[in-house]
Symmetry: D2
Subunit: 345 residues, 4 copies
């Protein structure tokens, strides 16, 4: 059994990690830390876990964490980078669900996250945990930067087009819609039911922190810098991201079978599902499941390709992908503990 | 492997049965029938099942169904009673998720359901599938009447009080609130998002079909007829029932430890969870899980006991309880295939 | 034009008061105060008011407020009582939307609200602003205690029965369900969309502050103390209260026309609507409107009367009722500024 | 008083027209027709109108309608064109809220709507009822084609850019999100609360009927054909459209004050509100109000302009705009009956 610890398990990625790890056949939940909830039982905070998780929150403490084989950070940005070096030195594998290790360039990270990076020397070693791109590197990684929720949905949708060089890399648009759980479990007025419910809005149009992360991944796929407009929106639902992606064909006159392109790209991917032609994936079709579902369209047979990409932001967009990465890092079946079927309705 | 068939799998109890049975370690899904969707793949109708269920809907056909070990009816009321006799005669076990076999008295059934009963002779044999009451009878049953969603939540909440003779059986009140999935997957205006969303109402106050079913069960528990007022409400959510139950103590002056009473009654029940004193269960704490969570209160230490009971109407209130019954009938572990943790948030 | 001021207008009752007063033909909005938002335009905080309200939030300041004819307190409990004496002394009428002046007995108030009352001498003078009971007293009041949202819905439902002496006053049950706006516009985790959405729960079953307020009103109506069990619930919607009320007939054998009783009681009430027999009011039928809709049932012709009562908690349950009270206090048409039709869907 | 009739008032645009017209100071509601609900009171179907609208639904009958000064068609596509010629001949003004008279070209209409047009000769006379473009023509129109909901939000957002010739007309993208009421009040499974709730999806990506309508309007504004990709989505809320619009600057290097451009274009428009720079309009800020709110962005100062446009699909996107058109046609104040403030929360 793999001994797993969670740092900062009081948010939505924390409780989702707990749900997945508690049911994982090869994992023993060893410790979960929270300064604020120290001493409280996990099941008291998250009643869905009553009878399934017996742990209490404990202080984040190096001794507790170095006894683990793997430590997940479900913490705000800037936390994992404080502890990761010591844990790695102690032989513990680290999976950060926040952004600390997602960008290659420390300067760019510091620009977008507004703080000094505590261990820029680890950025080169950290593996960006998108298995559909970096599967082999993840297997041997000590430190995995789990991708953001928007970046997962957007990259999986654009990758086939960019890898094949079919679209212009300088006019990409990602219009993304997220359920409110993407904003976390924080006492903020803007995400109250009475503020975010029965309403819809864009936010952060001038610039969102997931933009550089997406650009970095798409540039790698296309072998050249990309120009991307990324507009996130808040949708009155709990879970789910729907990314609607627009790209311009380099050669609109050339014959190209987009459906086949997508199906082939993901033919062997256990967690990416390309829907039949003319489909429209719904976010609820992945609710609670570690799954990305995609559809590709070319409206009016014009120059613009439209890709529809849905994930559960807390699963394939966070905790599920983290478990998928853990499975790869420890040589387990990639889908171990990840076979839950989406809850519909 | 147990060969399982589902008759009428196009509704919400159908898709939930499919979700549970597809992941059940001891079950092989053999057939699913639907006249209206004949030939269509199940995953086309329910995209959450893509890659997990390969079946197509077929005509309801005796040969197909008699090849099963067990057949679930996820059909409208009045359907199972047409086919059950032949299936039973062929040695197939039958679990009806509708109401055909829930009432002992054919006359009462015919009064509430407005049709002639097709096989009243089976009513005496049918076992009411509430394992917390009838576990042993279910083990050997050929025909199980799976309880209604409201009746499950209401009976589990009242049972400890009535069995102990602590409350007046003639002044029970069940104020119950259901998510909209309880109304089924039907093209009706009243359950549109724009009709049932962001609004709350009672319905069927003059009389609801679950009333006689609940009365029958409570009368058995108390050993005497009961007088029950049952008021169901429609809540703007998808899954979940919350029953708020009121009963009058026979002897308000006597010392009684209600918390201990409930904890002892359900000490060995795998799917009933008595919360600590002063708790308020949320429906989301059981979303997707085969679980009933209960809390018992005595406000202002007065003569009225208030019990709060929550279930997922599609799981412990329908498909999950049906699988629990199947597990008992076939000698499997009672929780086989039922260990999913509720999805929160 | 009546000069109106609002103290503490950053919550939901505040913005609703602003919506109603900005469109009121006889009112000039003079000042709105908020320490936290001082200097900010009202329309910046509440974009629905762009182009309709030009005010900025100012410090609560006696000079500003004494220039008003009437001051509304849309503040937390315990605020209005600090300022009311000075305002009244300056000849300003005061309407408190919080609880400071709702209970007759200072000791009871202090017990439930956990603080010392600042001006208990005003409790006898304050008029409880339920026009359907106290219309004449309100007309001449200097100080009105605007009723709570639950108390409005519950009292209007029980009044006809208690005033007529038809039901036992010692076994009343009010099972009430509120939209989340009833909890206010506060940065609290429990009312986040991801906590309160798609879920249902009871709360404060051991005791809620609206209990003594309701009991006081019902006791006055029945001429005797009442025994009431009050269970509030949180419903995943924004606005609306649905109270389901249970009372036991004193003489179940006597002929009584409950429908006529209710229709006669409210025949001349502009804001109480008794629905036809067998009806089930929906909260959305009063969304945004100063209206209570009622239906009365007697299930199975038994001993229990069931009353269904709906209001918009922010309108008839708060800001609308406050404007209705102001209209009465200033000799305006009772419905001035209150003719908005409910928004459906 | 203007005598107004409504044909087909049982849907959401119908009830919204009733809400607005019942409160309109210059209108007398004369008749409302529905074959299916003939004889039923309007208030029975729409309880928000109890006490405010006394009419019953009547058969659509020429005599009833020719007694009106204006008739609104809130009917499915293809209905108004059957009756409009006779009504116009009788001197009745006609406002069609459906699509029958929106497209200039009969052939294009017949292609997208799949039926023969009944009176193509009226297409040239019909005025497209977008007052921000056609105000003067509307004043003298006999027949107004009320714009679609998406077309209203999309055109108002793109117009300033296209009229000024600032963006490429051949690479426009409109990513639009609608509340479920846009799909109407129809008994269809896809818009049940349990299907459309807590989920998000695109639909009609291959082609939506509002595409030619939008293209026609944008081409007129730009003086040249436009190439537009239009992707509509279904959002789990009741009312509201949010259009996120993308256009490419013709000369990204040129200095241009987009904020000033938008503010000047709509400086005198009573129902279009340009938000301050860097804003993100929310659909709830226009809930129930005849208002479009816009914000314009240029992310990272790049070549792409992003416009955010919100309306209430039932008000500025349907019934409110129809009343605005009626006001213009009858020489009333343009905002008569349209001053309701949006309901927030």
């Amino acid at each position: 059994m793999i001994k797993a610890g969670i740092v900062g398990g009081t948010g939505y990625t924390g409780v989702e990690l707990l749900r997945l790890l508690a049911a994982h056949p090869d994992v023993e939940l060893t410790a979960i830390t929270s300064r604020g909830e120290k001493g409280r039982t996990v099941a008291d905070l998250f009643p869905n876990l009553r009878g399934r998780v017996d742990l209490r929150f404990v202080e984040p403490d190096e001794a507790v964490l170095t006894a683990c084989d793997v430590v997940f950070f479900a913490t705000p940005n800037g936390t994992a980078m404080q502890s990761a070096p010591a844990l790695l030195a102690a032989g513990v594998r680290v999976i950060d669900l926040a952004a600390d290790f997602r960008l290659r360039q420390a300067a760019e990270w510091e620009h977008w996250y507004g703080m000094k990076h505590a261990c820029p020397e680890l950025l080169a070693e950290a593996v960006y945990g998108l298995p559909e791109v970096n599967r082999e590197a993840i297997r041997s990684a000590r430190l995995v930067a789990n991708p953001g929720c928007y970046p997962t949905a957007v990259q999986l949708g654009f990758l086939p087009l960019l890898e094949a060089g079919l679209v212009e890399p300088d006019s990409l648009i990602a219009d993304a819609k997220s359920g409110v759980s993407g904003a976390g479990r924080k006492a903020e007025v803007g995400i109250l039911l009475c503020e975010a419910g029965d309403s819809f809005k864009a936010y952060a149009v001038p610039g969102h922190r997931h933009l550089p992360e997406i650009r970095q991944g798409l540039a790698a796929a296309s072998g050249a810098p990309v120009d991307l407009v990324f507009v996130p929106h808040l949708t009155p639902m709990i879970r789910g991201i729907h990314a609607t992606l627009y790209a311009t064909l380099r050669d609109p006159g050339a014959a190209v079978d987009l459906q086949a392109l997508f199906e082939q790209r993901y033919a062997n991917e256990p967690f990416v599902d390309v829907l039949p032609s003319k489909s429209h994936p719904e976010t609820r079709s992945v609710r609670g499941a570690n799954q990305c579902r995609l559809a590709v369209h070319r409206p009016q047979n014009g120059k613009t390709v439209v890709v529809l990409s849905v994930i559960d932001n807390l699963v394939k967009g966070a905790a599920g992908q983290a478990v998928q990465n853990m499975n790869l890092m420890f040589g387990l079946a990639e889908n171990a503990g990840l076979n839950g079927i989406a809850l519909l309705p």
